[in-house]
């Protein structure tokens, strides 16, 4: 195998050269149901359509034709690249192409990539669902400033923790797992106060968009890889200009949570094209909704000025009540 992408909640994804894939096809029993092989070659067709495939030990093969995706076999090693951002497997998970393929593989176990934040604060595991620029980063920074532990501030994997609990056979409690080795915050007054002044972190600045990048130190307790989820917070968009002094909460319905879950994931996975995959993801979503309390939030400037008090109130509000 040329590269392996491992996760505690999704299946392992092996990226192989053609030779290794050929071996796996001749010896399918060598591959378990929780392992997928991802392989492919660059195709020089007239339209130069990039194409890749993956197959599972359980049999069957899914073909992906995705406009941005191409896998090159070069010098015996597989390299995943895309037209948008040249990405080599092993670097940060930022490629849409790779996400799509791993998402398809994981969904057989009911796990999927999610644009969300997750952390533990005041003994609760929180999953934060939000569109872009709704205040997710400020909440993540406030969670850290409140003494919490940050799993992910942007992209994560959501699914079942046990490798032996297949979705549908043994109900599980979904967990969130970090997929990146860094956190990144948009530069703003809020992040300056929380990240630089309050936490004293020393981020680097991304050359492309000036985002503040903090590398995860896996030896620190405040950066766990995985967290169970007890609460789901759905953020309503609030720009810095209109941010109120006080963070407000409201109750939200299970259907609103499902809407946010689908909105934050690869939406084509929830469509009629992949009924079995959708069924697996719906089981995970339903379990998540049944085993958590949820609310909607509009963030205020109190998160910046008194993060610990505000986060404590939010956790308590979601457990029952409201603020």
């Amino acid at each position: 195998m040329d590269a392996v992408f491992r996760s505690t909640i999704g299946c392992d994804v092996f990226v192989t050269s053609g030779k290794a894939h050929s071996y796996a096809e001749r010896h399918p029993s060598a591959i378990t149901d929780r392992q997928f092989i991802l392989t492919g070659t660059h195709r020089s067709t007239a339209s130069d359509t990039p194409e890749a495939s993956f197959s599972s030990g359980g049999g069957g093969r899914v073909w992906i034709a995705e406009g941005t995706c191409v896998i090159l076999d070069a010098d015996g090693s597989s390299t995943l690249a895309s037209r948008e951002d040249n990405l080599t497997l092993g670097r940060e998970m930022s490629s849409r192409a790779l996400r799509i393929m791993i998402d398809h593989a994981w969904s057989s176990q009911g796990s999927f990539f999610l644009h969300a934040a997750a952390y533990r604060v005041f003994d609760s595991g929180i999953l934060v669902l939000a569109p872009q620029a709704a205040g997710k980063s400020i909440l993540s920074a406030a969670a850290l400033a409140a003494g919490g532990a940050l799993v992910s501030d942007d992209w994560l994997a959501l699914g079942c923790p046990s490798r032996h609990d297949s979705v549908g056979q043994h109900p599980c409690r979904p967990v969130a797992e970090r997929m990146r080795t860094f956190f990144s915050w948009r530069p703003s007054e809020a992040t300056k106060v929380l990240i630089l002044d309050h936490l004293g972190l020393e981020p680097t600045s991304a050359p492309t968009d000036g985002r503040l990048i903090v590398r995860v130190d896996p030896t620190k307790d405040c950066y766990p890889q995985v967290t169970e989820i007890n609460q789901i917070w759905v953020l309503c968009p609030a720009t810095n200009d209109e941010r109120c002094a006080r963070t407000n909460t409201e109750s939200t319905s299970p259907a609103n949570v499902l809407q946010a879950l689908i909105g934050g994931s690869l939406q084509s996975m929830w469509r009629y094209d992949f009924p079995q995959l959708t069924q697996n993801l719906m089981r995970t979503a339903q379990t998540l909704i049944n085993t958590t309390s949820h609310m909607s939030i509009k963030t205020g400037t109190d998160l910046i000025h008194s993060p610990a008090d505000t986060m404590r109130k939010l956790v308590e509000a979601c457990q029952g009540g409201g603020i």
């Binding site: 319905s253 499902l258 809407q259 689908i262 469509r271 009629y272 979503a285």
Partner: protein
């Protein structure tokens, strides 16, 4: 408001052309995913039931009877609500 014939046609068409994918939760509510229009709509129990009935190619009167029985409203009110729902859906997902 759109007329009775048209609202039944709109709902049947949305389902038969697979413009919408419906994902249902245990409590009877759910969401409709409209990839073409990049919309994800939250649906209550009544809306989910209306779509389920039209998915079985029901007429407007058959759907109204089902809604009337299950949600304890009179037949005319159910018919009107179905057409209001069809109109709202049309506006939200920007039907051609």
């Amino acid at each position: 408001m759109i007329d009775n014939e048209k609202c039944a046609w709109i709902l049947r068409d949305l389902l038969s052309t697979r413009r919408l994918t419906i994902n249902q939760l245990d409590d009877g509510t759910g969401v409709a995913l409209d990839m073409a229009g990049e919309n994800i709509l939250v649906l209550n129990e009544v809306a989910m039931r209306i779509l389920a009935v039209f998915n079985e190619e029901a007429t407007l009167d058959e759907a109204a009877r089902a809604v009337s029985l299950e949600f304890d409203v009179d037949f005319e009110r159910a018919r009107m609500d179905i057409c209001r729902f069809a109109e709202k859906l049309t506006n939200q997902i920007k039907m051609p």
